[in-house]
Symmetry: C2
Subunit: 338 residues, 2 copies
């Protein structure tokens, strides 16, 4: 790279100290009462030399980097991609940059990412926590690194978080199916102890109990790291064994795998089998009968998480904020609604 122009270059050119240049370029000319003439000269020189401040030097000096570390499960997953985009937009507005990483729901990767980002002095984190990552997030908290959890939280940890009201989301979905006359309502979930999953399952179970069909309760728990084909297979087998007449999927990826499974065994939807998916997806629209699904307020989730993080970074408040947002049940053909 050709040599960069620094504050000093401008200072020498104009014939003042770097301090004065710094003041002017940071808009402190009034406060520091720099002469109008000199200020103008400095600004002109900066423009002329095409000066670009070195943020690294500034960060080192100021002790803050204006950077947010975002850790999601997988940036290639549209759910997280959309979330990332919202976080990005919100961050830019406040003059922050975001660096990101994908954990694959894996604690080891997650820890490596957190360490890297800490070394890079990010000012705060937005994290989709993985199973068993409690201690590493705890260490962030004890070092007082601002941090907000999103999509899921860890009940044992005192952090801010933004999550869906997962219990109600599924509870209402089940109720909807019951109202449509279904009884053999089963759920496909991940084998995962994280709160978002357990709350979704609890919502299902509670609703089944309230509607007095607890005998029909069945949750198929699938390991996260299976391939889609394997997942498809398991769901297909279950449909046969259990003679389900309705299915609720606990995540978007499971919904998709489920759609493939249902397509394979050629069940008529919703006549033979009603379906409810999680999160919107174009594939839902083109399935033989458009999927009814639980819609998360993504925009709001992303925005709130940045808002809370910025607040934590600014005020040194110890008070953590907990936001739980409501989902919306988009009713369509796959559950017999039009």
């Amino acid at each position: 790279m050709s040599k960069k122009v620094s504050l000093k270059d401008i200072a020498t050119k104009v014939g003042v100290s770097t301090a004065t240049v710094s003041y002017v370029l940071n808009g402190l000319e009034k406060e520091k009462r720099v002469g109008v003439e000199i200020a103008k000269k400095i600004k002109d020189a900066a423009r002329e030399l095409n000066y670009m401040p070195n943020q690294i030097a500034r960060s080192l000096r100021k002790g803050s980097t204006n950077t947010i570390g975002l850790i999601v499960a997988d940036i290639a997953n549209p759910f997280f991609g959309q979330l990332a985009r919202i976080v990005e937009d919100e961050a830019i507005k406040h003059n922050y940059t975001v660096i990101f990483g994908s954990s694959d729901e894996d604690c080891v990767k997650s820890e490596a990412l957190i360490d890297t980002f800490v070394n890079r002095q990010v000012d705060g984190f937005i994290i989709v926590p993985s199973e068993g990552c409690k201690s590493q997030i705890n260490s962030l908290i004890s070092r007082e690194v601002p941090c907000v959890l999103i999509d899921r939280y860890m009940p044992q940890l005192n952090t801010s978080y933004v999550v869906l009201d997962n219990f109600s989301a599924v509870y209402h979905a089940v109720t909807h199916l019951v109202e449509k006359g279904h009884r053999r309502i089963h759920m496909v979930a991940y084998e995962n102890s994280l709160i978002h999953m357990s709350e979704r399952i609890r919502g299902y179970q509670e609703a089944m109990i309230v509607h007095q069909i607890e005998k029909e309760i069945h949750v198929e728990k699938i390991a996260y790291n299976l391939t889609r084909n394997e997942t498809e297979q398991i769901i297909g087998d279950m449909l046969m064994d259990r003679k389900s007449d309705a299915l609720i999927f606990a995540t978007n990826a499971l919904s998709i795998a489920g759609l493939y499974a249902v397509k394979n065994i050629q069940k008529k939807v919703p006549e033979e089998l009603a379906l409810i998916g999680f999160d919107g997806n174009e594939a839902f629209d083109f399935f033989e009968s458009p999927l009814t699904y639980i819609k998360q307020p993504l925009e709001q989730m992303g925005r709130e998480s940045v808002r809370i993080l910025l607040a934590e970074m600014k005020e040194k408040t110890k008070k953590k904020q907990h936001v739980q947002l409501e989902s919306q049940l988009i009713m369509r053909a796959s559950s017999g609604s039009f």
Copy 2:
């Protein structure tokens, strides 16, 4: 944040200079012939104090940040999300972090992102260039900032790039449709002068000419910033006006919009209308007849771009690398193949 431990803390604790600590912790103990005893003490102390090096300080000193700036059109678009993930994985392997930004195909946003990233001293860029961004990328080149373009390149600029062989991709798709007996083959593209788009269109036109159906040539050019509904509407109208018997979509987003349009007007696919989409997508699988599509080698694109960037950053070679990858036509029901 509680105060961080620095090199100095370790140095004082062990009773050596920061230089020695730095050498040991950077694995230069052999080279600098630090005593085994001392080296051990230093390592122990580092572990004990839970030392984490400040990358910002290191970056300032070394003049490199081990950071890659990635600019895509929209990280929420699965095509770019997947690309980002591949870039991320590849970067991590080489101990780089990536910061990202979405340009929305907008030159102003793109410029703001590039400036921000330059200020943050990224070591290099991977950019999906937007229309009309020539000058800003040119200024990167003239400052000798390593930079590889991806998905599209700018013919007037001397940069490395990794792109698809867009011409052949569409040429073959058209040929396939011709072989299936179609003649009124039309194309839906973006109104955009970027090379990837013009090459796709050229591939279509050339194939039509070669097969002597140039009289049927029609490319519907749609503005990028229209809503999906508007796009749908335009495609629907075109289908009626033009009595197309086959359609090729120039991008994934256009394919999706097209599928909605086709669904609305209830044309039978492929009997009344054959379709070929761009990039894979789950929605393609669930469309009434699974979509034939042009598949890009995403994995390879992402990996190559990082490889080339790393090479440019390491060797100060002025030689630019140009990679053009071949697509694959995945033939399925929507074009009458099974």
